[in-house]
Amino acid sequence: MVLLLALLFAMTARAQTPAPVAGDPFATAVAGLGADNFPDKAAAVTVLTELRHPNGRAVLAAMLDGKLYLRNADGRVFITDAGETALALTDPLTMQAAGTGIPDDFARITTNNSLRKTLRSAVAGFALADPDAAVRLGAVREMLRSSLDEDSAALLRGALEKESDEDVRQAVREGLALADLESPEPEKRLAAVRALEKSLNSDVYNRLTSMVTAAEDGSYPEADERVRIAAREVIGSIDSSRRVYGTLETLFFGLSLGSVLVLAAIGLAITFGVMGVINMAHGELIMLGAYTTYGVQLLMPQHIGLSVLVAIPLAFLVSGTVGVLIERGIVRFLYGRPLETLLATFGVSLILQQIVRDGVSPNNVPVETPQWMSGSWQINDALSITYNRIYVLLFMVLVFAILQIVLKKTSLGLKVRAVAQNRNMAKAMGVRTQWVDAMTFGLGSGIAGVAGVAFSQLTNVGPNLGQQYIIDSFMVVVFGGVGNLWGTLIGGMSLGVANKILEPWAGAVLAKIFVLVALILFIQRRPRGLFPQKGRAAES
């Protein structure tokens, strides 16, 4: 029955689409896309590019998207929208609907990396006439990824005459100049080198460097002396601007790592720094924040972009509540006994990990990154910054600012500081110190939860998430100076930057070790950290 149906489908499909006209080069090339090896497919793509048939772009784009299928029965090529049970077919020759088919009768035409590169460049050639400047710029960039042949150069020259957008013009000029470097006339080459002066494109740099690198017999690939001098000048200027951007990049990487450290440590700076409680479960409070993000995404799978924002206050509440429970249930009985507090909170951390392991899953859970947080901001060819890191950096600054305001401007903050400075005096003034302790611990824990939301976008969310950060957090707080939020900020940032400066030449493993050793030496010299607390509070 199924077979009969399939036959019926096949017959109706055939009836609707006229057989390819023999000798039509477009039809032959399209049929060639269904070849059984990659070189033949690539040849067919090249033919299609040259034909510039109005349907060419759609066919090539479909192939790039994996929407081109081959009918097993007669070897004909169709554009389809893959469905679960039926494929809606489109005939590439006429762009008319050609009925439907069942998936088992068709085979997807596969592509590989080099074929996809050719396809992208070919599709870009068609996109040069797009009304949107951004699409045109993308198309030009795409074409320049592979070296230009004469056809594409001619295509770009034509496009340059019609082009009005300055960015696109610049990109086209750069590409044409690169092509001109192959010109036999020295004048033309010289002009091309001059035109490339402002470019940071690495292709340009490599091409120019190869021009002035002497071969073994002392001759240069570039014969003309003047062109060589001009090329060397351009290389020098590119080198210096590359160095500047390279430094900026490292600095940003460092600040970004620093912002992660500060976020992890800032909650601890309150519980440990202000209250003096060694909370080993701090990492697990971060983990709870990350799992809150996961939970929110499960509840609102349609709004991933919004889920992260919703998760922030929720994570604060979840971790904050757990923090208050820890303080009321355990820590308050142990004030003034640091060793017992350490052991008790360590136990809590194990319990929290096991709850998550048994309750959710021992494996990592997938937390999706919203669209607005993925990708990177391409400032120029030498410098790009990823969005998720920018947001985390900004988020850290925001959290820090809010915390400062809470501590400096609100009545809770006033009481927290009063209790931290002199508990008995504060008590005598009518401050409910027990309540303040609980709230302070809750605040620090809540901030840890908020950090967890940020980390869910950077790293794996699993039961062990907190363990990764607990050591770093203590390190930052001790380095910055116990009891000083600004110390935590500056300490975290400088550790981050130091790590990233060391990483390129020492490797990720050694860089961490170096930073740790330097930190130990520093603490030996200044046991109270960067910004030690002064006055009577420091002595107690």
């Binding site: 990396n113 992208r120 990049e249 039961p463």
Partner: protein, 430 residues
Amino acid sequence: MTMKTFTRRLAIAGTALALTVAASAQAADTIKVGVLHSLSGTMAISETTLKDTVLMLIDEQNKKGGLLGKKLEAVVVDPASNWPLFAEKAEQLLVKDKVAVVFGCWTSVSRKSVLPVFEKNNGLLFYPVQYEGEESSKNVFYTGAAPNQQAIPAVDYLMKDIGVKRWVLAGTDYVYPRTTNKILEAYLQAKGVAPADIMINYTPFGHSDWQSIVADIKKFGSAGKKTAVVSTINGDANVPFYKELGNQKISAEDIPVVAFSVGEEELAGIDTKPLVGHLAAWNYFMSEKSPANSEWIKKWHAYTKNPKRTFNDPMEAHVIGFQMWVKAVEKVKSTDVNKVTDAMIGLEAPNLTGGVSKMLPNHHLTKPVLIGEVRADGQFDTVWKTTGLVPGDAWSDFLPGSKDIEADWVTLKCGNYNTKTKQCSGQNYK
């Protein structure tokens, strides 16, 4: 003593005796199979499925009536991605539970940690994961790939078919990536690649801040020569690594990443769109079409009651290893380790991708090598495949120290035999 109390005591003693007899009868009726895979920690992402695979295999075998007339019984322990704990748990399996065989380990450091335990107690371990070679123990069967069955063919493919001239060897900082990269470095240099065109980078387990390393790779790859990354990054550090590649817009068309530890299972947990076109080298892909493959995938889906669960290379290795062990036990009619290891050599079991794998005298298998590109749905499109099966080579021919070493448990009775000095150095090579 009255008669009443006497009978009561007798009754109690009788029940107790009956219970002990029943318990020992129970114990004699089963053959215990140890499962030593991390169910938590950084390696859980990869190893949990392997535990389920062994349980499924045991279940299948029991449905067929067990082995030697006894049922198989799984003893599952969780070494929690903690290498010393692996040794403790192995000791527990061998000494306390007295298992007949153990299926387990993923990372080489865990295997190295349990190796002395297995040799001391004369246990039997089936190790299902691709590894760095340079080892052949009497007590271990290596059903995963040796470097010449995965790393070397992958590099050959990149060099010949893709034209790669510059190489980034990135790995997690432990024994498997370090040794594999050493072999690859020697191999590449022997093929005429300049040292300046090779960049080596190591990161700790669970590394999450990849921004500067990926930026370095990008810079290294923009020198005008075709560049590829050979990745021996293990465990969940892969997720942020590929995320960062996607964020920094490094596409597979410019700098392909060929991974030796990323399979269907690892891809199942992440958004694969930025990964399309990146490569993986394995001896098995779930997307390969063959009757044996679809049969096992069906069994797996039925066992896990989840039609979306993936099947991967180390799972196939367990399937092959388990079948061979069953055959060997049936052949010698005993689970005695010495008899079984002798009977294993030369046994054959079908690959799931076609062809028949054979256990070699060096305790390694013959395997096909496949290279695939990641598809948007998290599966692989095979783009290259060896024509026949490649025999596993325990000691690499590209490292100066191991060139002259041979492993042969049939004629030489040695896993580390130096053909120049004609000496067997036992297992403590180096």
